[in-house]
Amino acid sequence: MKVGLFVPCYVDQFYPQAGIATLELLEKLGVEVEFPERQTCCGQPMANSGFSHLTGDCDELFTESFAGYDYVVAPSGSCVLHLKEHLHSKKNPSAAEDLRGRIYELVEFLTDILQIKSLKARFPHKVGVHQSCHGLRGLHLSQMSELVAPGFSKPEYLLNFVEGIELISLNRKDECCGFGGTFCVAEEAVSSKMGKDRVSDHVQNGAEYITGADLSCLMHMEGILKRQKSGVKVMHIAEILNAGE
């Protein structure tokens, strides 16, 4: 099995450690991973702002970069959802369409494709799980609180393999953090307020770390935490699943 690692633009630039942890974790699990260097962005920042007609070149680049792999894996639910729903290619339409079905967010790749039953990791801390909306309601990484359906959580399933970890429970288990791409500046007041409220739910319930499968939300919450000079940290789930002694 050969996996193409997609490290979304802002992860590449701001959170390389999440990309490294993803790579190392997959390799530990016996997967052959490559990082195609011509990759850039999934196109979502443009599309969610209403400019999906500008994402053509981005899409072509993505299709060229990843068409040869069995799977594409990325440590970002939001980018993955966007690609699954919107990746198109004019040059090679069938390749893009085929690729859409082989793109996975890291957590779902571990639970659904690799179907891992155990993991060696240790992280002796109190951790709050942030359910990112696109991972939750788009990729169904967990059951959505609005639906009348049996509960499950793929991130928590994985985190429960980690030695020493204590998962805290939240008052609102799957409310949005307010990042929302350009929303976070276009609607600054509401976005910040949503971020503050989300962070305070974790802090009040005793989290030392906030984790999740989407760094964009974590970046937003980290921005709030840092401004509040809080000691609570954010960490991508790959880093916890890859954490050793």
Partner: protein, 465 residues
């Protein structure tokens, strides 16, 4: 001062973000508003989770509505035919203006200049009250929440909970001024009793009552009105003339379909198992005149928009507002439209793209709205699709459009991307949410992550190649 500012924005070029910013100046109040509506969402969850068949009900309701939209002309004619047999007068209004003229003509015919009205979002959409006021007709809204916002000279901020943005002390002040309750009185029990006495007098003295319509049954020509207070019934059973105004999308095929919709409506709206009254009007009572006004006002246009026609499935329960994290923290008035929240944001651009171009952007696309919707409208997908339409139609600022072009160009050029990243974190330059500039709204309440000493691709090059 804040109120004046809000009103100015309502009249002029209102923008959701600006109005939301004003709303957020009082953080304690935002917390209160958010908690109050979250409480309603929690009640909805409890009610839904008490029915194992909930998702099947939603799916069935959705399918019935799809059927209705696909055969709406047949159902409308069937409904009209039955209503006529029942002795009801049926009117057709192409737009808001015609609707208001029809109401006024009925008032004139009976020489009536005072009337009562129970809750009808359609008449809000048509601005009926303002129209009638200009023509010398006094309208009293009889739903308590609507009466409160009417006294405050504000529009409702929520389709089910019209004065959810008002604190009881503010309502106490209004009642002190208008209904003569004691100064400083803010006990909901006492205030409701005062409203009961005041509105009872209105019910007993007004000869014309207008109600909305929750469902209209094609098969029988009857229409159903749901209230908790009993105001629609008090008004219509005492009046000589009953007018029911309805959007053409309110039709359902059969009486038995009510057995699906009424199970969903109140549970979704407030978490109640059903509203106190679900009143089925089929014929006028002896000696009474009954009118139904079927209103288009843009609905047939929306029906023709393939990506957006499903918004017409809406049964106006308000669940999408209660669950919306943006609505809860920006208030209904920030949507500057009769219908606020996620559903309002996909309905409004159909009526006027320019005036409501901001609304589809007033969302994080979190998707909670689509999940609570009892008729499974893909609300957040439609918000995304409206954004594409609005940009193509030129309703987005040129500055933003240029920024997006530069960003698209950068991401299309891997070498330039890698170089620009090295030169100073390209995303900090081009991703609009992280533009490195102290004037950027990001920095008002948030910090940016510290740029690491090397990017992932730099690390990969060094370590793995």
């Amino acid at each position: 001062m804040v109120k004046e500012e809000t009103q100015q924005q309502h009249k002029g070029l209102a923008e959701h973000s600006g109005l939301a910013d004003i709303f957020n100046r009082d953080e304690q109040r935002v917390n209160w508003h958010d908690e109050t509506l979250w409480f309603v969402r929690s009640k909805r969850d409890k009610a839904a989770h008490s029915l194992p068949e909930w998702e099947l009900l939603r799916e069935t309701a959705s399918q019935i509505k799809h059927n209705v939209l696909s055969d709406l002309d047949t159902y409308l004619q069937q409904f009209e035919e039955q209503a006529l047999i029942n002795g009801v007068t049926v009117h057709w209004a192409a737009d808001a203006r015609e609707h208001n003229q029809i109401v006024h003509s009925i008032l004139k015919k009976h020489e009536i200049n005072r009337m009562v009205k129970s809750k009808s979002m359609l008449t809000e959409e048509c601005h009926l009250n303002e129209y009638l006021k200009e023509h010398g007709v006094e309208v009293i809204d009889t739903d308590l929440g609507e009466r409160i916002v009417q006294l405050a000279e504000e529009p409702p901020s929520h389709i089910v909970l019209p004065c959810i943005h008002k604190k009881k002390e503010e309502i106490g002040e209004l009642f002190h001024t208008h209904l003569g309750t004691a100064a400083g009185e803010s006990d909901p029990q006492v205030l409701t009793e005062a409203a009961r006495q005041h509105l009872r007098e209105s019910f007993l003295t007004r000869r014309l009552a207008l109600t909305g319509v929750n469902f209209a049954v094609a098969e029988t020509g009857e229409f159903v009105v749901c209230t908790n207070e009993g105001n629609a019934d008090m008004g219509s059973h005492l009046a000589d003339v009953h007018i029911a105004s309805m959007g053409i999308e309110k039709i359902i095929p059969r009486r038995k379909d009510l057995g699906i919709f009424l199970r969903l409506l109140a549970r979704s709206a407030t978490g109640q198992p059903i509203t106190t009254y679900s009143s089925h009007f089929r014929k006028p009572r002896a000696g009474q005149e009954m009118h139904i006004i079927l209103v288009d006002n843009g609905r047939t246009v929306q029906l023709g928009r393939e990506d957006f026609r499903n918004s017409l499935k809406c049964i106006r329960c308000g669940a999408c507002m209660n669950t919306c994290p943006v609505y809860r923290r920006s208030g209904g008035h920030s949507y500057h439209n009769a219908i606020a929240g996620p559903i309002g944001s996909i309905l409004a651009p159909n009526l006027d793209m320019k005036a409501y171009a901001d609304l589809p952007f007033a969302s994080t696309l979190c998707g909670s709205c689509s999940n609570v919707c009892p008729v499974k409208i893909d609300i957040h997908d439609q918000l995304y699709k409206w954004r594409q339409v609005l940009v193509k139609e030129g309703h987005v600022s040129p500055v933003k459009a240029m920024g997006m072009k530069v960003m698209a160009f950068t991401f299309a050029m891997p070498r330039f991307f890698a170089f620009a990243g090295k030169a100073g974190r390209v995303v900090m330059k081009y991703l609009p949410f992280v533009v490195s500039n102290k004037l950027n709204p990001w920095y008002k309440e948030r910090e940016m992550p510290k740029p690491p000493k090397e990017s992932f691709r730099e690390w990969y090059k060094r370590e793995r190649r």
